[in-house]
Symmetry: C2
């Protein structure tokens, strides 16, 4: 296995995270790099979803992956094994990423020649929702085994995302999960959110999700039809 | 349905959380109330596990439940519907409970006549591990669909708990989850931790878990054989 680069990132010194995030977003726009921030609970399938997305889009885009975790390099190793370019970020116990931490990570990866960078945020439905990373778009994953009440309990996370991926949809028969109820609860919080039902294991539902991501990336990078 | 009491709790004014937690623990010991702090990711089955535990032990102990969430009263409603005494705590966006918040919650519930109080912490594998609530014991739940790599990625949470409940064990056939690998990873972090395989849905494995909790509660309350 290739050696994984591990970058220790620390809490940003910038007090005004929103302003710094806006500045980072402008710079990424200017260099034609779309930054996708992926958030969810631990174990919802972020890494598996990112790897499948990477494998499906790697002929179309130059893609890099940033894997944030408190500890371990498990996720970056999985991405590299799958043929992707990735580095592992260690947050030193921090429960979220802010725009300064994201900037450090992007500089470590070297993203100037990349069309699409996927940032796997820390597995947490609370804190990451409160900090703008500077991403072009934010998406979240809710997996079927987590239950359909999550929009009621973590409303901010569902409010700040541009798309919701309902993952492990192939497990619906084994869990008491009401897809229609989730959609209604989420749309009430965030009427413009796009919702995709997927299985990162089987690939079910990926065509619609990839079409959305392709369109967003091309539009950001000035390559829309 | 009974009306649910909702208590808004704010970040403690106490700078020295550890000292305050120790003080709270002493007071709970003196009043013979065992406080169990339950932590996990969102959707691992905390509330279902707590309700089943309550139903199995309610003839033996006077039990109260504190349900912490960013928003909604879903969990406290479920406990009350199941015949329990519960209040809902709103953390105002806070991603964890500290000992001051726990003290406020205990005072709102009125726990002096209770043998066992179960505190459902905010669903989060990061921040709650860093703050001593003043509990007599802390346990965590890891559910099978979350994956067997979680001890590698959230080591502090696995280190600070006295017991680990591996929940949704009835779903093992549908997921790639290596129980032995989890046990090895967890014991490396925390050699003294007790591990129970349970299903809060089917009741599988509850006898051993309830025996552990019964023994701990009786010992704390001075009723050990």
């Amino acid at each position: 296995m290739d050696e994984i680069q591990i970058v220790d990132i620390k809490k940003s010194i910038f007090e005004d995270n929103d302003r710094e995030a806006e500045q980072l977003r402008k710079e990424l726009k200017a260099q034609h790099t779309f930054l996708l921030n992926v958030m969810s609970s631990p174990g919802s399938g972020k890494t598996t979803t990112i790897i499948k997305t990477l494998q499906k889009l790697k002929e179309e885009f130059r893609i890099g992956v940033l894997e944030a975790d408190i500890d371990s390099a498990v996720d970056a190793e999985r991405v590299v094994e799958a043929g992707g370019v990735a580095i592992q970020l260690h947050t030193g116990g921090m429960c979220h990423l802010d725009s300064g931490m994201t900037r450090t990570a992007l500089e470590s990866l070297g993203t100037e020649q990349m069309d699409l960078v996927i940032l796997e945020n820390v597995g947490n439905l609370v804190c990451p929702a409160e900090f703008d990373t500077g991403a072009s778009s934010s998406v979240m994953i809710l997996s079927v085994p987590e239950g359909d009440d999550k929009p009621l309990k973590y409303p901010l996370m569902f409010s700040v995302c541009d798309a919701l991926l309902i993952n492990k949809i192939d497990c619906l028969p084994y869990f008491n999960f009401d897809v229609a109820a989730v959609e209604e609860r989420v749309k009430k919080l965030n009427p413009n959110i796009e919702i995709f039902e997927i299985s990162a294991n089987t690939g079910e539902g990926f065509d619609a999700w990839l079409a959305w991501l392709r369109e967003k990336t091309n539009a950001w990078n000035g390559k829309a039809d």
